[in-house]
Assembly symmetry: C2
Homo-oligomer: 272 residues x 2
Amino acid sequence: MLSTQPVSHEAGRQRQGRLWSNLKEVCELLHLPPVSLNTEELLFQHVQFKTGQRIHTIGQPFDMLYVVNSGFVKTVLIDEFGNEQVLAFPMKGDLMGVDGIHSKTYASEAVALSDCDLILLPFKKLTTLGRTHVELENMMYGVMSRELVREQAMIGMLGALSAEARVARFLVTLSDKFSQMGYSSKLFNLRMTRHEIGSYLGLTLETVSRTLSAFNEIGLISVDQRTIGIKDVDALKSLRRLPPSRTRSKLPSRAKAAAAASEATVPLLATL
Amino acid sequence: MLSTQPVSHEAGRQRQGRLWSNLKEVCELLHLPPVSLNTEELLFQHVQFKTGQRIHTIGQPFDMLYVVNSGFVKTVLIDEFGNEQVLAFPMKGDLMGVDGIHSKTYASEAVALSDCDLILLPFKKLTTLGRTHVELENMMYGVMSRELVREQAMIGMLGALSAEARVARFLVTLSDKFSQMGYSSKLFNLRMTRHEIGSYLGLTLETVSRTLSAFNEIGLISVDQRTIGIKDVDALKSLRRLPPSRTRSKLPSRAKAAAAASEATVPLLATL
DNA sequence: CGTAGTTTTGAGAGTCTTCAATTCGAGTGG
DNA sequence: CCACTCGAATTGAAGACTCTCAAAACTACG
């Protein structure tokens, strides 16, 4: 009903029947301090993909970075059995393709989850340009480093959090992202299936579904198919579980706050 | 007993009572095509850390990248409870500190697991230099991208593999790394505790211990405290489990090869 | 030769997965 | 316009894999 992506693309101008953006617009999209350059004439082309279309595949020669201007994408790894492992759900302002730099070949596959509009950043062009424009170069390193930090956080999450905590975090992150994009942070539509969410979080689709239902019953959220309403962000944010391994030996082993959330039989959390 | 790290550092020369390495040596260490530059005079300083010493902490201002020249390190994330989440075990030839570029502050903590020798790469110096030497610049991007791919693989592992498969992979990876470093790939010492391994793999120390014991009983490896002997690399490499989630709908649902490894009650699996 | 940390091993509990059935929703063709 | 079909989502029940708690053996170090 609401929070449908806008059809009009804020960034970009028409030219030769296509959309183009300049560096400044790209920087804004990436939430980076704008590179103050005389690069008004330096334009990057947009490309549109329809739902289900592949943006790039594993092994394909690398030459482009992509920035999502609108729409939703998933990036996946594919193992020797053909099983997908979702790595990320890039959306407006997210960068894709960095994993291709090293081997000059994309290491992951990107698929459009909705019709979307991407900005093409020819990697060669960027690096040559960065050589003369320090700011741009810093931007490049910065964005790559940011990606790395994001993945580190992901590893931390997969390695240490319970199913409930993972789903809660996922929702909070999505909520933030939506608000950041100018949509409602309280009510939004998931663009991915439970299966894809599960893959992303290292869970089965059933567990994802059950957890969402549980959150719903407790009143943390409202769920109707792919429409999610956030009702208690704070509770979601603080949803934790005792760490699975007793780490950091020297700590005053905190009492396992067996916080029974109301009388619900649902074994949810220690709101700390 | 064996495979103790060499006291002498292959790379590096004495000068002012300290060790220094040139760019070529650093590139070799990183397994990168040597940057053919007239940079004989461009030297990078070494630093030594003793077991347990902190190389950098979270939040500390970023200015250096580090390359491990000898010894063993762990990098960790620390959550709000003070719990450690091991991110990696950098060893000879590995790069550290990239996560600090983005926020100009290290995002992780690095601790020496053994006495070790690191090469300091002042980030500013590298980038300025890269501006004039394309090869060096490419190297920078390449190494960062490689790190990203490594972490992606880690995410895939944490999200999809069983405890046994994770431990098996860990051993194989270590074995490869050791052989790459010039040590025996068949017999080596772990430099980290079960607890650290568990944190790294998203398991408890008990599960790690039990899994190693199980591998031992089956004859895949020999275990004596921290000394590991690899006896059947291929079996370790092919150790898998049915994916936890039925992904990729359209596949001829492979029969769950209930391969009972010998008659052991140990539920160890589908050697494919 | 104690003391503390590491590792092993056991037993029980619990979370998450697996298998299965049902409902829901959208797209297609009659 | 409605029946039909297929994928997505929900829910239940049982089972499996790991975790938790606990105790003991071992190692290292002072």
